[in-house]
């Protein structure tokens, strides 16, 4: 696994150099502590305007300039002596989707020909100055489930034309248009939907580049930039030929089930290409219900193979995470594969980041400032949905299991270990059980002990209230059983390796939430804590505790005095 990560990092490096981009530092071996935090306070000013965020970074009003995507911003950050650029692969996929439900795009040869006509390297070089990673499979390279041993479609207009010729799509007398062998008529115009130039200039230009390339081999593909909402509407109503869009994914390959299983070719489902392939469905069922990692890996590999032949999408590129840190002000930030050094899903940077003196030596304690690009509009963890809210909340809450920043393998965290078992939810049927063994002596940020009771309460609360954000996690849970104060078993009515992650919900302190009658309107950050003066009911078990939020201005977090990993 570790070797794979190193290989992929080397791939990014090689790509950057090959594209003539001066490569930025990529961590060779990630060093991190599993204790902290090492600062007393984080102030997170809300700076919505991107120029202002850049200026704030340069003025030292934010120690990080995170999530850089624009080549101009990346170049600017690289030019600053005090900026330490961090780059990691991301769980991101930008793709071209075909509507396979109707002719002519129901034909596999046509889709494969388009795949050959896409010049990824040129797109990445022209539009992104090389700061993207070309994709050939349906799982991002950052994932441990990425299968690089699948058929690829290197850019070649000759090869694209050959594929079309072999499939019977001959050129007409003018030599410019192709004839559909099934109808005997010229191929109909195929529209490629993109957002408008105003909203997403690179996506719009990318659509134009693909269309122009396809036109050279006689495919009448025309770009059609449109309002983003209209585009989403058309996709939802299956009223499209092709479109380009991006996904933000996770380390697990279960998105393959959501995107390509025929059961998800339904209203509000995500099988937008409308692929219906029995063999693929079987593999995706195995992936979804894999009892162990080995089966999951096999199914994910095999599914990627089928998809690479079927080409419901043409995977185009994956965006790496690029963040700039003020190395003259802070150190200790941790690169995390797939998530980046400054992403909220990276629990290691908040734990490890520390101030530095003029000589670059670590300074314990003190305050750092970390800009937010939007206001965290709702800090109720049951309903918060924006990434900006989670930029804050993720620093306040811990997890039962965590991920190694480099290998992304599961690590015991608030649960010192876990057992995966099988039970019989009904005669003749099997289901997974997950038993958590929690560390003893952990406390919530108000000093109340964190126990198995809180795990049971969280899962029961989310399930009983059908909280939409967590429905995917709780829908297969049958019951939660307390064994003792530090042991709890979660019962599922199906068998799946992924239930381990579905069972890891443990963020609602029972002593606070048991009195909540309407979770939707509860504003824990606005209600004073019943016993701790100066604090609120937003109680967590992460390295920081919530202190103050001035809407639209800033969030203030302070070191959690009861944090269970406060000392080495």
């Amino acid at each position: 696994m570790r070797k794979r990560v190193h290989l992929l990092i080397a791939l990014v490096l090689a790509l950057s150099l090959a594209l003539g981009v001066v490569a930025m530092p990529v961590a060779a071996a990630v060093e991190f502590n599993d204790w902290g935090p090492r600062v007393d306070e984080i102030i997170m000013p809300v700076i919505k305007e991107q120029t202002a965020r850049r200026i704030a970074f340069e003025r030292g009003e934010s120690v990080v300039w995170s999530g850089l995507t624009q080549p101009a911003d990346i170049d600017q950050a690289k030019s600053l002596d005090f900026a330490d650029m961090r780059m990691t692969l991301g769980f991101h996929m930008f793709y071209l989707c075909f509507n396979m439900r109707e002719a002519p795009l129901d034909n596999i040869a046509l889709r494969q020909a388009v795949a050959h006509a896409v010049d990824r390297d040129n797109i990445i070089r022209t539009l992104f100055k090389g700061y993207m990673l070309p994709m050939t499979s349906f799982v991002p390279q950052a994932s441990a489930f990425y299968n690089d041993d699948v058929p690829t479609y290197p850019f070649s207009l000759e090869e694209a034309a050959r594929v079309l010729d072999e499939a019977g799509y001959k050129l007409d007398a003018t030599g410019k248009n192709r004839i559909d062998p099934n109808t005997g008529n010229l191929l109909p115009e195929m529209k490629l939907l993109t957002p408008t130039y105003e909203v997403a200039p690179t996506s719009a230009e990318l659509g134009k580049m693909i269309a122009e390339s396809a036109q050279k081999i006689g495919l009448p593909i025309v770009p059609e930039p449109m309002d983003f909402n209209v585009m989403l509407d058309k996709i939802d109503m299956q009223d499209f030929d092709m479109y380009v869009l991006a996904w933000s994914l996770t380390r697990n390959p279960t998105h393959l089930v959501n995107f390509f299983h025929s059961k998800n070719d339904v209203e509000a489902g995500y099988n937008n290409p409308g692929i219906r392939n029995t063999k693929l469905d079987e593999l995706l069922n195995r992936l979804d219900m894999a009892p162990d990692l080995k089966t999951a890996r096999f199914a994910a590999d095999a599914a990627q193979l089928v998809l690479a032949q079927e080409m419901p999408y043409v995977p185009l590129y994956s965006r790496p995470y690029i963040d700039a840190f003020r190395k003259d002000m802070v150190g200790g930030y941790v690169d995390m594969a797939g998530y980046g050094a400054a992403n909220s899903k990276n629990p290691w940077t908040p734990l490890n980041i520390h101030r530095v003196d003029e000589a670059g030596n670590p300074v314990e304690g003190g305050t750092i400032r970390w800009a937010l690009s939007e206001e965290p509009d709702n800090l109720n963890p049951a309903v918060a949905s924006s990434a900006y809210a989670w930029d804050v909340l993720d620093k306040l809450f811990g997890e039962l299991i965590t991920m190694h920043p480099e290998t992304l393998e599961d690590m015991p965290w608030m649960a010192k270990k876990w057992d995966v078992g099988i039970w019989e939810p009904a005669p003749g049927r099997e289901g997974t059980t997950i038993t958590w063994y929690l560390n003893e002596g952990m406390k919530w940020s108000d000093g109340v002990p964190f126990t198995a009771e809180d795990v049971k309460f969280t899962i029961d609360f989310l399930k009983d209230n059908k909280v939409p954000r967590y429905l995917n996690y709780t829908s297969d849970i049958v019951k939660v059983e307390l064994i003792d104060d530090y042991t709890v078993t979660v019962y599922f009515d199906t068998v799946s390796y992924w239930h381990l992650y579905n069972a890891s919900l443990a963020f609602l302190p029972k002593h606070i939430w048991k009195d909540v009658t309407d979770y939707k309107t509860f504003e824990p950050w606005n209600e004073p804590h019943p016993t701790m003066e100066g604090y609120t009911k937003l109680v967590g078990h992460g390295p920081f505790v919530f202190k103050e939020y001035r809407p639209g201005e800033y969030v203030r977090l302070v070191k959690n005095p009861y944090y269970w990993r406060a000392n080495p």
Binding site: N229, L232, D233, S385, T521, R550, G552
Partner: protein, 327 residues
């Protein structure tokens, strides 16, 4: 027609307009392409989760039920829960409204004072450098896109000569003490309000100058000059007074722009206000939030129009008197 009946008539029209606007407000978002739950592009959000969300949003009710619920709620001034933040829209608007009002009032006072004084000054100095300067700079400020001037100022005073704060309405955290906090807030107002004044003074100056020039060519001004009245008195007590009605209208009609026009300023300077809220709500298809913000804007437009009508009636008796009547 007496002033009272004039007022009642205006009020009646205002209520009709408000009802029509509220109905449009409801229909508009539902005929727009897109759907709040379609905006959620998250593979973990299953079709079942989306359906549950629709149920919680009340979007699975018949459209007429939704409309009746919407009207009932508005009458109670209950703007509902925002789809995206799940917080009461009125609470969110209340958090933002004071900031928008402060920015507007300061901008308004600055723009009106600077615009009207420069307009009068230009009119009094016809065909001199002063007039050319006012007209030239006014036209320039009016013609250049506002956001360009604002970004330029942001770079100038935030980066090249970093002497001013570039985001927010206060320092993070703000200083203790009432007066220190007041000064801190004033300090944060300089760039957003100052840039608004630079963007906005041109139209006021040019408008005032034009109406003043017209007034200065009137017979009664010539008479006043012939009577030997001081130049300043003629300018301020005779000419300016006669051009006040259209300027008063301009003043009130610019009030609604406080909210809608604040979108760009609030975005550039991370100003926590209603304008940016409206933009975000519309982009996210957050019906209750967008409807709430539009309701507020509609109310402010109608009230401004009403105030303009009343003020116009007060400063110009011909308006309230009507055909042949007595005020």
């Amino acid at each position: 027609m007496g002033f009272r009946s004039y007022l009642f008539k205006r009020l009646f029209y205002a209520i009709i307009v408000l009802f029509v606007i509220l109905t449009f407000n409801f229909v508009l978002f539902r005929v727009m392409p897109g759907d709040p739950e379609k905006m959620i592009i998250d593979p973990n959000f299953t079709p079942e989760a989306k359906m549950e969300l629709r149920r919680q949003y009340g979007l699975d009710d018949p459209i007429m039920t939704q409309y009746v619920n919407y009207l009932k709620s508005l009458l109670r001034f209950d703007l509902g829960l925002s789809f995206s933040t799940r917080r009461p829209v009125w609470t969110e608007l209340k958090e933002r409204l004071p900031n928008t009002l402060v920015l507007f009032v300061v901008t308004f006072i600055g723009t009106a004072t600077m615009g009207i004084s420069l307009g009068v000054y230009a009119a009094a100095n016809r065909e001199r450098f002063a007039e050319r300067f006012v007209v030239g700079s006014g036209l320039f400020a009016h013609a250049v896109p506002g956001f360009f001037i604002q970004l330029l100022l942001l770079l100038l005073f935030g980066y090249y000569w970093p002497i001013l704060p570039i985001h927010g309405t206060m320092s993070a955290p703000p200083p203790d003490g009432g007066f220190a906090l007041f000064l801190d807030r004033l300090w944060h107002l300089i760039l957003p309000a100052g840039s608004n004044v630079i963007i906005g003074f041109g139209s006021w100056a040019l408008y005032t100058r034009n109406t003043m020039l017209e007034a200065l060519s009137q017979d009664y001004i010539i008479t006043a000059r012939a009577k030997g009245i001081a130049k300043g008195d003629i300018l301020y007590h005779h000419a300016l007074r006669s051009v006040l009605p259209p300027i008063v209208t301009l003043i009130f009609m610019s009030l609604p722009g406080a909210v809608s026009g604040a979108v760009i300023t609030e975005s550039i300077f991370s100003w926590h206000g209603v304008g940016r809220y409206l933009l975000d709500a519309t982009l996210k298809m957050d019906y209750p939030a967008a409807q709430g913000a539009f309701y507020l804007i509609a109310l402010s437009v109608i009230i401004s129009n009403l105030l303009a009508d009343i003020a116009y009636g007060l400063v110009d008796p011909r308006i309230r008197v009507g055909a042949g009547g007595q005020g």
